[in-house]
């Protein structure tokens, strides 16, 4: 573990724990790990002041590979756990990480309500449109006619979940899309997301080379959004509803104040509460 009470800036490598990832060779998540360590280094956040929180999935293994504090929780609940931590400890940099299944399927309710609540944290979703860890089922972001999903052999037949549109509709304060093929670009966006007050969503297109090998093509298909980030939800909605899911960059930046109840006490002693019970 790193002792960073000294002030010198740590390099990205020093944000790695040294535990060897279990990811398949070529998995997009390796690059995201790199982007995240670069962002932490770039922002000069001491590892002890950052906490990375996740659920379950290949992508959710992230915390283990970092030298920050981390919590590898249960499937789908990363945002709830991260919210509790952030509300209780507003001094920390809190980052949630996970996958499209963890975040949008089982975790969908927390996604909705965390966007709405708007705590000051960053959520990095490695979207590979599949459940990698359980070996290849369709996820909410999977296209309806993908017939290799092991529980949906004729395709899901249902509309993919639009994470950025839902995030916008439910109140997220910062919305971006990145591609794991661009490690530095992703690092920059993550830095901006962390800096932006309130709840920031960073969707990273991160190929699952094992169950969706065709996603290797993503790196050729993605392109930077042709316009600057807007702070007008209506405009953002229009753009998000029409982009093909392949524009990268910061797409929306809102101005809602973050959710943070005060932690200032008004009385000194617990015993002062006794009064109300006294006859």
């Amino acid at each position: 573990m790193n002792d960073t009470s000294a002030c010198s800036r740590l390099g990205p490598k020093e944000y790695k724990s040294g535990v060897k990832p279990v990811w398949c060779p070529g998995c997009g998540d390796f690059t995201v790990l790199g982007s995240l360590t670069k962002a932490l280094s770039g922002l000069n956040i001491a590892p002890e002041n950052a906490a990375v929180i996740s659920g379950i999935g290949c992508s959710s293994r992230m915390p283990t590979y970092l030298s920050t504090y981390g919590f590898h929780g249960v499937h789908g609940r990363a945002l709830a756990l991260a919210t509790g931590l952030k509300v209780a400890r507003p001094d920390l940099t809190v980052i949630a990480t996970g996958g499209d299944g963890d975040g949008f399927s089982i975790g969908g309710n927390h996604f909705l309500h965390t966007c709405r609540r708007n705590p000051d944290m960053t959520y990095i979703v490695m979207d590979n449109q599949v459940y990698g860890m359980t070996k290849g089922q369709a996820s909410p972001t999977t296209e309806p006619n993908w017939e290799k999903g092991k529980l949906t052999p004729s395709g899901t037949g249902i509309n993919p979940f639009q994470p950025l549109v839902i995030a916008l509709a439910s109140g997220a304060n910062f919305i971006a899309r990145c591609s794991s093929s661009d490690q530095n670009g992703t690092a920059k966006v993550i830095m901006e997301a962390i800096r932006h007050p309130g709840f920031s969503l960073v969707q990273v297109l991160s190929p699952c080379v094992t169950f969706r090998p065709e996603q290797r093509e993503w790196k050729k298909l993605v392109q930077p959004a042709p316009v600057e980030a807007t702070s007008d939800p209506a405009q953002a909605a229009r753009r998000l509803l029409t982009d093909e899911g392949l524009y990268t960059g910061v797409l929306f930046k809102g101005h809602r104040p973050p959710y943070q109840p005060t932690l200032e006490s008004t009385i000194d002693q617990v015993t002062e509460l006794d009064e109300e019970f006294q006859l």
């Binding site: 609940r77 709830a80 400890r89 008004t266 617990v270 509460l273």
Partner: protein, 576 residues
Amino acid sequence: MSRQSLSIALSGSGGSGVMTTGSMLLEAAGKAGWYGIMTRSAGPQIRGGEAAALIRVSDQPLESHDDSFDLVLAIDPASLGRFMGEIPLREDSVIICDMAGGRRDASLPETLAREIDLPMKKMAKAVKGGRPNMIALGVLARVIGLPEGSIGGILEKVLRAKGADALEASQACVKEGYAAGAELPAFSGPPITDVPDGERWSITGNEAAGLGAVRGGVRFVAAYPITPATEVLEWLAGSLPKLGGVLVQAEDELASINQIIGASFGGKPSLTATSGPGLALMTESIGLAVCSEVPVVVLDVMRCGPSTGIATKNEQSDLNIALNGLHGDAPHLVLAPTSLSDCIFTTQWAVHLAEAMQTAAIVLSDQSLGQTRAIVDKPADIAFIAKRNVPEVVGETYRRYAIGDSPVSPMTIPGQPGGQYTADGLEHTEAGAPSSLYDDHLAQLDKRSNKITNFNFGEHWADIDGTGDTMVITWGSACGPVREALSRLRAQGTEVRMLAIRLLAPERPEDMRAALEGVKRVLLVEQSHSKQFYRYLRAAYDLPAEVKLFHRPGPLAFKPGEIIEQLSDWCGSEKL
């Protein structure tokens, strides 16, 4: 006949204000130096419907209703029918009722009790803005022997917000009622004594649990409303901010349990409160707290199950899920308060224990403890507070899940340099890296189980009382009636022992063996259909050969007399 205690029921139809009236009467009784309890009974309606306030006062602390009621006041005769199952009457009981026509009201249920007509509605009409429930308040105060002045201050406190007119009307009604009460048969209540200010409290079990939580150090609560736990949360929502704490209303129970795990990971002692359905949703993540060794307290205020069951009524049927509801081998703490005021101690102790052992504690309160209001002696200040084993300095090779001399390994808090680790629900090495090896699994399973089985819990694991070779073993809200039954028996010269288990998990085999020394016969008392407590005891402990079981589902509360009856085979032949 002069009794140690007086039991009064007050019923009315929706909107008649019987609950307010009851509360005010209880407070007046408290001011006059009596102890007392009040429980609320109502139908499924949110507003409207019938309601009854069940009150008992005494010069001795009370934890249970009596076998029967002395006095019933029905503002609406018809309202009484709904509650007759809960209001047993004797021949010498008295029903005061507004017959509103002089003739016996046909909707009034037939009982043995003496019926007295009192035109409360008419009397209220005579006062501008007057209401029958305030007449009733005056009547009851007089009949049970409360000084007229005892009501005044309370009226002012409660009705101030409603404006001067309302207050005046009520005062006039109470006065009328008090005068009318003089004409009615009087009950000689318990002796009135002077109690120094602040020596007695008026508190509900739910408030008590909230107070215990903050006394123990809880500063973060996330929760989702559910009957009958909501009042704990309401109290905490008001109180936590004063202490620099916070309550988050979460989107569901899955969020609340995970939010408190997150906050506790961040160093804040944390709690959530819920009832059966919510507890069921939380078990997966309680297992996470156990496996990742993050302290949390989950307060379950039980109600009738299964499923939605009867949301507003009492039962002790979440024992199974609290003890055995987690998947995998997930040792954790389960505690239950042994009385209403013990909700303070037990919740506070649970916070202390969870923090000391870095694990999850489930506290099983119930609707009856939680929603009863009682006048009690001022509770003691207790020393147990949250104290986590946080290392002051962290060495080069900090291992969060180290297996050292103590199975409780030092736990760093985010922000602490050099202490970084990943808390994990996956099985892990001592350093916290995922592992699927048998040796790591076994070592960590041992660690997590040893830390709670080897802990020195001291005397608090149970309340043990009495002598003799007969023992009643019980828990939770069933303790109250048992305690009263045994004290009645004692007054008659029969000694029966009592064991009220506060710490349900982990088991305390040594302590139990000691407690059972010399016990030949055991009566188990529990409010569950499937004998959950009995089955738990069988699995966990060696009981004497002769075991008798007195159990039934909710919502009917146990009465002291019923316990005595259950014991009569055994004690009767000897001394009764």
